[in-house]
């Protein structure tokens, strides 16, 4: 195992009122890995993501990204450092079209600076053309071509999740945090998505950190898998090991469902 941790969480705690949603949690995500994060509902997984991505500030502890202390930095600065996240509950821009939802993602667009908009229109136009092309590619890949001009707020639950995932394909990020992108997504389409995640990981060198309740997907993609419960990491290792752990089976997987 290499010691090149791109995300390094050290003793992080977050309280909500009396509840310790994340409790002295420490974990590492290796560069170039697809690391899974599983655990029962309310284990603190999303809260941990929120802290890594800068959406909430931990009460104590430190988070390192690429060796730098990033604790408490706002999300937009983390994005600039190459950290990108998706949301468990889709955070689409509901009054913008699906295409615009993707086009707004790249952050270094010259057209976001008023000086360029006003005085360097050609420069802006060129960049804009580029972004649009990329967004169209992504949208086709997600099979959302027929709704690209639909307001994102009018998309179906699953389509919103796809859009959420599509954002990650719009930029060259070092690390992508995926919070339950699979929930609500059709399984057939999910196969393609999984293949794409693998491709981005292998060909482009993205690191993925994935929260998921879909064990097939976790099993297919992730190594290692980290298990959280009640705000703490309780196990870590390859999926086969986790699956074999009786405590985790009891707490997390439950018994298989019987047909009616």
């Amino acid at each position: 195992m290499s010691f090149d941790a791109v995300i390094d969480v050290k003793d992080v705690t977050k309280r909500f009122g009396g509840l310790r949603a994340v409790n002295k949690c420490s974990l590492r995500v290796e560069r170039g890995s697809i690391t899974g994060l599983i655990g029962p509902n309310g284990a603190g997984k999303s809260t941990l993501f929120n802290m890594v991505a800068g959406n909430i500030v931990p009460d104590s502890g430190t988070i390192y990204f690429d060796g730098q202390d990033i604790t408490g930095l706002p999300p937009y600065q983390l994005f600039a450092k190459g950290l990108l996240r998706t949301f468990q509950i889709a955070h689409e821009f509901s009054h913008m079209t699906a295409l615009e939802n993707l086009m707004m993602v790249p952050s270094d667009q010259p057209g976001e600076d008023l000086v360029n908009v006003w005085f360097r229109p050609d420069f802006v136009r060129k960049a804009e053309h580029h972004v649009r092309q990329k967004a169209l590619d992504v949208i086709d890949f997600l099979k959302l071509g027929h709704v690209k001009n639909e307001l994102a707020g009018n998309l179906s639950g699953g389509q919103k999740k796809l859009l959420e995932l599509g954002r990650t394909m719009m930029v060259d990020a070092k690390v992508v945090l995926l919070d339950e992108v699979a929930a609500g997504v059709n399984k057939t389409l999910l196969q393609d998505l999984a293949a794409n995640i693998e491709r981005m990981n292998q060909e482009l060198g993205y690191t993925f950190f994935v929260i998921e309740h879909d064990m097939d997907l976790i099993g297919r993609l992730c190594d290692p898998v980290i298990v959280m419960a009640q705000g703490e990491v309780i196990a870590q290792g390859p999926m086969e090991e986790i699956r074999a752990n009786p405590e985790i089976i009891e707490a997390y997987f439950g018994s298989p469902v019987e047909a009616a």
Partner: protein
């Protein structure tokens, strides 16, 4: 006679129709499961039954009566009940108040039903005075189902009840659904955990592009290689 029957339902949100002729029929003893790709119109179908969008042609027949385009507050007393995909609890109200809201249309004593719901979902009894917004995802889903059951429905419609739940809760929720069905409530649900759901479904419907693609028992659909490949992820 079918408990509920959708006859060539066409409808949408204004503009182009989303549903282009959906046919579904469910008996009181059935668990019907709708599956299909994202944006197929599954949620829209449930909303159309519940009068939440405009049906332009076709009919919804419930227990022999035409309820096409009826308002939700008229449907609940008739015995329909619906758990939407998202935003399905009153976050600022306590668990018990959420359940009371489910019994809003009932004039009779709902205490026995409340007890029945608490028996079915013991965690809710424990948290009865806690705000629903402070619950974990699984408990919220239980509140949502409990609220829907408080009206003593004859048909319970669920939109992706298992989404976002950990595998253990998925199993638990499905077990509860089977139990509820056994107590005499017809079930119509949308699921993306399609294999698991079809496994106990007595009727399965595959929807795509706002139309029925395949219809059969759950087992039949799982067994159909084409359905499995195109809609169930191989």
């Amino acid at each position: 006679m079918a408990l509920i029957e959708l006859k060539s339902l066409v409808g949408g949100y204004g503009g182009v129709p989303i549903l282009n002729g959906v046919n579904i029929a469910i008996e009181q003893s059935d668990i019907g499961v709708i599956v299909g790709p994202n944006g197929a119109g599954k949620s829209t179908t449930l909303k159309a039954i519940f009068g939440l969008l405009k049906v332009t042609s076709g009919a919804v027949v419930f227990d022999g009566a035409d309820i096409t385009n009826a308002q939700p507050d008229k449907l609940v007393p008739r015995g329909l009940s619906f758990v939407p995909q998202e935003k399905n609890v009153f976050t600022s109200m306590s668990v018990e108040e959420n359940l009371e809201m489910g019994a809003f249309t009932r004039a009779d004593d709902y205490m026995p039903t409340l007890k029945w719901v608490y028996d079915m979902f013991p965690p809710l009894l424990e948290k009865r005075h806690q705000k629903a917004g402070e619950l974990s995802g699984g408990q919220r889903q239980m509140v949502a189902m409990g609220r829907a059951l408080m009206s003593k429905p004859r048909l319970l419609m669920l939109d992706e009840p298992s989404a976002g739940l950990s595998p253990r809760y998925v199993i638990e929720i499905f077990e509860q659904i089977v139990k509820i069905n056994k107590s005499g409530v017809g079930i119509l649900m949308v699921e993306q955990n399609a294999r698991q759901a079809l496994a106990f479904a007595s009727k399965g419907f595959v929807l795509a592009g706002g139309q029925n693609r395949f219809t059969g028992t759950g087992a039949e659909l799982i067994a159909d290689p084409e359905v499995a490949k195109s809609f169930l992820g191989g």
